[in-house]
């Protein structure tokens, strides 16, 4: 896995020595890339240009006429408290899920590292939620969070905690979705951490022990944590990108409610574009969404480079 991920993560390869272009070879090559090139233009480049263009219009799906409105959609968004609420909620959700899944992923990876023959079993268990259809599991979570018949309130009742209507209470709805997000993602972080841990030479631990770092904690602080820092950064960025795209649980369980408590960016874009058909406005949100993703992904590229240099 480490081998493959490293090769996939390499953003650039050394440029091959320039070969002579032979006309027939060039024609053959063009035939091979033509379908891909055409589809990249049709399905990626044109829509990308269109989303920017649409964001500058008042187009509504199905409307006869539309006009150029400049930055009006962006100005409207900036003046819309619901949109700001959506941004704040997204950021809160991302911070909670990233912190939770990174910490839990690291803790799990550390516990599995060098552990018994059971390690592959644990790994499978913790990775299971990453695989399972999130939407189906969201519906299971909804049932488990049911105020009266839910398992969660039932268990909390055993220790004397009064039942909570988790998804219908504006104080608990977003944290409840974040818990589902952490549950779903931490196994993914664990796999990346395990790969990172397997790259730390045992000799370093032995050396640390000889140099008077006897406790597991001091070895972690002196060896594991610094050597794992690039992987940790990488996990944080990837989890940020993934949790930034939260949509399924919101759409299926809360519809952005109660009282906009779970209104998040992608859900707002969906509602504007596909429920209210305010296409121009949805496009403006999409542009801002892409801008945020670009910043995150560029951070990732920088992190990947750094990680490779350290190895």
């Amino acid at each position: 896995m480490t081998e493959m991920s490293r090769s996939a993560a390499l953003p650039r390869q050394p440029v091959e020595t320039e070969r002579v272009r032979r006309p027939h070879e060039e024609r053959a090559a063009w035939r091979l890339v033509a379908p891909a090139a055409m589809l990249i233009i049709l399905i990626l480049a044109l829509p990308m240009a269109a989303v920017v263009a649409l964001s500058l219009t008042d187009y509504q799906l199905g409307a006869e006429a539309w006009r150029f409105v400049g930055a009006a959609n962006y100005a409207d968004l900036a003046a819309d408290p619901v949109f700001w609420r959506s941004i704040v909620n997204t950021v809160v959700y991302v911070v909670e899920v990233v912190a939770g899944s990174t910490a839990l992923g690291l803790a799990t990876a550390l516990m599995l590292q060098g552990s018994s023959i059971l390690a592959p079993v644990w790994r499978t268990v913790f990775f299971l939620p990453v695989m399972a259809s999130l939407i189906a599991m969201a519906i299971v979570w909804e049932f488990m969070l049911h105020p009266t018949f839910g398992l969660v309130n039932g268990m909390l009742g055993l220790v004397g905690i009064a039942p909570v209507n988790w998804l219908q209470n504006s104080a608990t709805a977003l944290p409840a979705l974040a818990v589902i997000g952490i549950w779903q993602q931490f196994g993914f972080a664990m796999v990346l951490f395990l790969a990172g841990l397997s790259g730390i030479p045992q000799a370093l631990y032995d050396a640390a022990e000889m140099d008077g770092a006897p406790s597991a904690w001091s070895r972690f602080r002196l060896v594991t944590w610094p050597l794992l820092a690039p992987v940790t950064l990488f996990v944080v960025v990837i989890s940020t990108i993934r949790s930034f795209q939260v949509f399924d649980t919101v759409h299926a369980l809360t519809k952005g409610g109660p009282n906009k408590a779970t209104e998040v960016l992608l859900y707002t874009m969906y509602a504007e574009g596909f429920e209210f058909f305010r296409t121009g406005r949805a496009a403006a949100i999409a542009v801002l969404f892409v801008a945020a993703m670009l910043v995150l992904t560029l951070t990732k590229v920088v992190v990947v480079e750094k990680r490779i240099h350290l190895k």
Partner: protein
């Protein structure tokens, strides 16, 4: 920790604590799966109660699963899921593999431009271009068809990128020798490169199938007739139905939809871990 009295190896206090923590975490991780399956086996009066027990007193599996398949065309949804994910994967491979080969092993004008476009495509999540794709499909009258479910994913820049990286590692001499033998470029792709690229192809296939079997956003946007629903849409439609409060059949439906990938994962774990870990590099 090491100051504590020594116990037989494997029985130290640290290892007991560690295993206790792992067991607790595993219990929480598995709880939704276990509860889903357990509920799908219970009769209604055992579900809508505060008397929580895992194993059903009365075994109600046949009723629950039968009514899940009767209430909604669950079989149809699963079939749609298979058709859509298989078509997407086939198109992605058919288009990405030759392009990746040319990008890696041929010299042609526009190569750098194309590769730049691939790298840029990696940065854009499809959600962001969902609006124009929807408008475009609407203009073409293709909304609410299988084509609408598949088209946006016919090209996978991630697939091109991944395959190209893999092909870079295959020696150019192999390709040159095949060219000397008079093989066509297309024949080299399918008869020389593809057999050598097994691990990369299987990793990409797993990544793609998992992503599209579980995708909820795009099918939600693209189709509205329930004959075209994919499994995620189907299970939500079932929940929103009147049947939504009959948790037994609902959990049975969820089990049926989650099962195929979970079973495949349990059978081929290593490949899945590789395939899914790739998602991080997207």
């Amino acid at each position: 920790m090491s100051r504590l009295p020594k116990l037989p190896r494997g029985l130290s206090v640290a290892s007991v604590l560690r295993n206790a923590a792992l067991i607790a975490l595993a219990a929480v991780t598995l709880a939704p799966f276990v509860w889903m399956v357990a509920t799908s086996l219970k009769a209604p009066d055992e579900i809508l109660t505060r008397d929580f027990h895992l194993w059903p007193h009365r075994f109600w599996a046949a009723e629950n699963y039968a009514s899940a398949f009767a209430a909604v065309p669950l079989g149809r949804y699963l079939l749609n899921g298979v058709v859509v994910t298989a078509t997407i994967l086939a198109l992605q491979l058919l288009i990405a593999v030759p392009a990746a080969f040319a990008l890696s092993k041929s010299e042609f004008r526009g190569r750098r431009l194309l590769f730049g476009a691939v790298l840029f495509g990696l940065l854009v999540p499809y959600h962001a271009i969902a609006v124009p794709l929807f408008v475009g499909l609407h203009a073409l009258g293709l909304l609410d068809t299988y084509a609408a479910l598949v088209t946006p994913f016919a090209i996978s820049v991630f697939g091109i990128f991944l395959m190209r990286q893999f092909f870079q590692g295959i020696p150019g001499e192999l390709v040159d020798a095949a060219r000397m033998d008079g093989m066509s470029e297309l024949a080299i792709v399918w008869r020389v490169m593809v057999p050598a690229a097994g691990p990369a192809i299987s990793a990409f296939a797993i990544f793609s199938v998992v992503a599209h079997w579980n995708d909820y956003f795009w099918p939600l946007v693209a189709v509205s007739s329930d004959t075209l629903f994919t499994p995620p849409l189907g299970v939500v439609a079932f929940r929103n139905d009147d049947a939504g409060t009959s948790y037994g059949p609902l959990m049975a439906a969820a089990t049926v939809i989650v099962l195929p990938l979970v079973a495949a994962f349990l059978l081929a774990q290593r490949r899945f871990l590789e395939g899914i870990a790739f998602a991080g590099f997207k």
